[in-house]
């Protein structure tokens, strides 16, 4: 497989695709003028709010900033186990 990648190109960890991934994250932060670490604080606060209402599976909780055209979208995914009320 390594040999095939070497011959035919586009391995997923090439420097070109690494640059693309880094660019994506960087530009989402640039466009929102989002300081480093701010997103992590938001995540903790969101998690605390949801946990007031639900027991959840913390392991599978996901936060993601994605790009749609030139706008960013915050995608949060909580796996709920049961309601707390």
């Amino acid at each position: 497989m390594q040999l095939l990648n070497w011959i035919f190109g586009t391995p997923a960890n090439s420097s070109g695709s690494l640059a693309k991934d880094r660019m994506r994250t960087m530009l989402v932060h640039d466009r929102l003028e989002l300081p480093a670490g701010r997103l992590e604080i938001l995540q903790e606060e969101l998690l605390a709010v949801v946990q007031r209402y639900f027991e959840l599976d913390k392991e599978t909780t996901q936060f993601d900033l994605q790009q749609y055209e030139r706008r960013a979208a915050l995608i949060a995914n909580f796996r709920l186990l049961r309601s707390k009320c």
């Binding site: 011959i7 035919f8 190109g9 695709s17 880094r22 660019m23 640039d30 790009q67």
Partner: protein, 271 residues
């Protein structure tokens, strides 16, 4: 007449704004259009060199704005292309020598006479950039496929977006693409850059030693046949005029039978 005022800008320095201005200007003039090339990089005059007109500069843009001469007197006519004129920048002044209002007025005067007014913008996002875009209705954003250049292009696009009322359209030119490096995935591809920036593509220019040679001669590559970068700039000029020109095949010249064979099998092998 009301011509089109198009500013060529980038954010990051040294990515090819002046090269693109000269080549697009020459290519447009060769299609028969009348073109004014305006050097707004005040204090760092370059466009006259690329055009081979440095010995014919008498007055400059700042002289016009400060009314030391008429616009007509400052325009340097290119003898090789009678429909092309250059309005040189001042070399001994700085970016504060012209303000946005003066630039708007100048652009209105220029587009009364010329079908295309191409403005070569200084690097950066400060006053020099703001003044250079002041009279423009269209922008061409230049980047190379490198991270720092793309990041700065994104910043410029954000600033252009915020001025939608004045800048009606802006498109991207990706300069200095190296097909071999894209192929080996060691350079972001055209599609990668477009996806990241979400902007319309105007053209792609390959890395080409001929550009350095042509600068030495003062004859932009788009004016001569047989160079790949020249063809790329001529295609850009045709697209600016509304023609639907497909992107050129970047790996055509070294397309040996082996590379064709690899291309043929590559999609199968990747599955």
């Amino acid at each position: 007449m009301s011509g089109r005022v198009i500013v060529i800008t980038s954010g990051k320095g040294g990515v090819g704004k002046t090269t693109a201005s000269a080549n697009i200007g020459v290519a447009l003039a060769n299609t028969g259009a009348s073109v004014a090339l305006v050097d707004m990089d005040i204090g760092l005059r370059n466009l006259d060199i690329l055009m081979g007109l440095e010995n014919r500069v008498v007055y400059n843009l700042v002289d016009v704005v400060e009314e030391r001469c008429k616009l007509r007197q400052a325009l340097v006519k290119d003898k090789r292309m009678p429909t092309l004129s250059l309005l040189p920048a001042a070399q001994t002044r700085d970016k504060t020598a012209v303000n946005a209002e003066q630039m708007k007025k100048l652009c209105i005067e220029l587009k009364n006479t010329f079908e295309f007014v191409i403005i070569d913008c200084p690097a950066g996002i400060e006053s020099g950039f703001q003044n250079a875009i002041a009279g423009a209705e269209e922008a061409i954003v230049i980047t190379t496929p490198e991270m720092s250049a793309v990041r700065d292009a994104d910043r410029i696009i954000g600033l252009l977006e915020a001025r939608k009322d004045e800048i009606e359209q802006y498109r991207l030119v990706i300069n200095r693409i190296r097909p071999a490096m894209v192929k080996s995935s060691d350079m972001m591809s055209v599609d990668d850059v477009l996806e990241i920036l979400s902007i319309k593509l105007l053209g792609v220019v390959p890395e080409d030693e001929e550009i350095i040679i042509s600068t030495n001669k003062g004859e932009p590559v788009s004016g001569t046949d047989n160079t790949r970068s020249g063809l790329a700039f001529r295609n850009i000029a045709r697209r600016l005029r509304g023609e639907d020109v497909p992107l050129m095949d970047l790996d055509a010249p070294n397309s040996t039978w082996i590379s064709r064979l690899v291309k043929f099998f590559a999609p199968v092998a990747r599955v």
